[in-house]
Symmetry: C2
Subunit: 172 residues, 2 copies
DNA sequence: TTGAGATTGAGACTGATTCTCAATTTCGAT
DNA sequence: ATCGAAATTGAGAATCAGTCTCAATCTCAA
């Protein structure tokens, strides 16, 4: 069952030939340190654990998933701290929040990534990312026609991925 | 402050020259009656009030707004009934649920309406609808490239509407 | 008119997230 | 290294939209 555009092992592969997509977790940690200094925040052990855990994952991670992984490393870290830390990462531009099929916020690493949109399988919940500048251009044109200046957008395509098209179980 | 593509008075205007956009509320009531019969549901006074209230509005109505207007007509109708009724309208294809900037579900009348997407002003929350078949076609093409069969999509453009571009108050 | 079954309103409940607050930790100034 | 103001923490309470439960009520075909 496909779970993400980026297969797990690619994280290791990336070190070999520099990827334009995903900066290494260490870069994220540096950027966070700069942000923390700039904003008068403080570096804490908990934040380190959460940030390391987050950047060692790929794909779109729910807070709950992240919390589980974080607590596997340090059982004393609470949910509130994970929520708070992900908000800081988002403000710092290192993560971005997404809302797909369910009510949960999912985060993806955002450092040095292009804007992209998502294809979501309604059956297995695989999430595939894509970029299409012609769509973007048309969006801008439409907005201009209506006098809008667009600052962000959300484009999500829901359907069945290749694997799920042949299966008959009802989509969730 | 613009609130919707469809200005309030247009509802009356539509009767003169038949609009392809919005069927009259009476047609919706008939369709609902058919749906209720088909599904073995029952017609109730509460549902009539809610459906009449809903279809006498235009634009994108939150459950809370709708509840207020419903209770102005009958203070005894509870929130749960409004939630339940809007779900029925949605199942019957007479309303469709949308999720924009905040966590609230908003409903719009769906009877005989084309699919369309939305431009949303982040400052005044005006919602403008648009259709663009070239964007739709490109979406399908992208999905096909990734082996997906798309069943629905969500495209929302967020930014500042013409009126709000000249104002300096911070966007909400 | 009757009764099975649908519907209702109120309030309890849920799940995600935020808030509160006392205890703890950080870090620049000493 | 120590101090202390200010930030952070975890736990649990609070919030918020929405759903569920259940006893009382209503609908409608027979």
């Amino acid at each position: 069952m496909p779970r993400s555009t980026v297969p797990p092992e690619s994280k290791r592969t990336r070190a070999a030939h520099p990827s334009p997509e995903l900066a290494p977790a260490s870069a994220a940690r540096e950027r966070l340190a700069a942000w923390i200094a700039e904003k008068g925040l403080k570096a804490t052990r908990q934040r380190d654990v959460i940030v390391d855990t987050f950047f060692s994952q790929t794909g779109h991670l729910s807070v709950d998933d992240l919390l589980n992984k974080v607590q596997a490393r340090d059982a004393n870290i609470g949910a509130a701290t994970v929520y708070r830390t992900m908000k800081i990462l988002t403000d710092a531009g290192l993560a971005s929040a997404r809302h797909f099929f369910d009510g949960q916020t999912r985060y993806e690493a955002a450092l040095d990534r292009h804007h992209h949109d998502h294809l979501i399988c309604t059956r297995c919940h695989a999430i595939v990312e894509f970029e299409n500048e012609r769509i973007e251009a048309l969006q801008d044109a439409v907005a201009r026609q209506h006098g809008f200046v667009v600052t962000r957008h959300k484009l999500e395509l829901y359907g069945l991925c290749r694997a799920c098209q042949t299966l008959q179980n009802p989509p969730r």
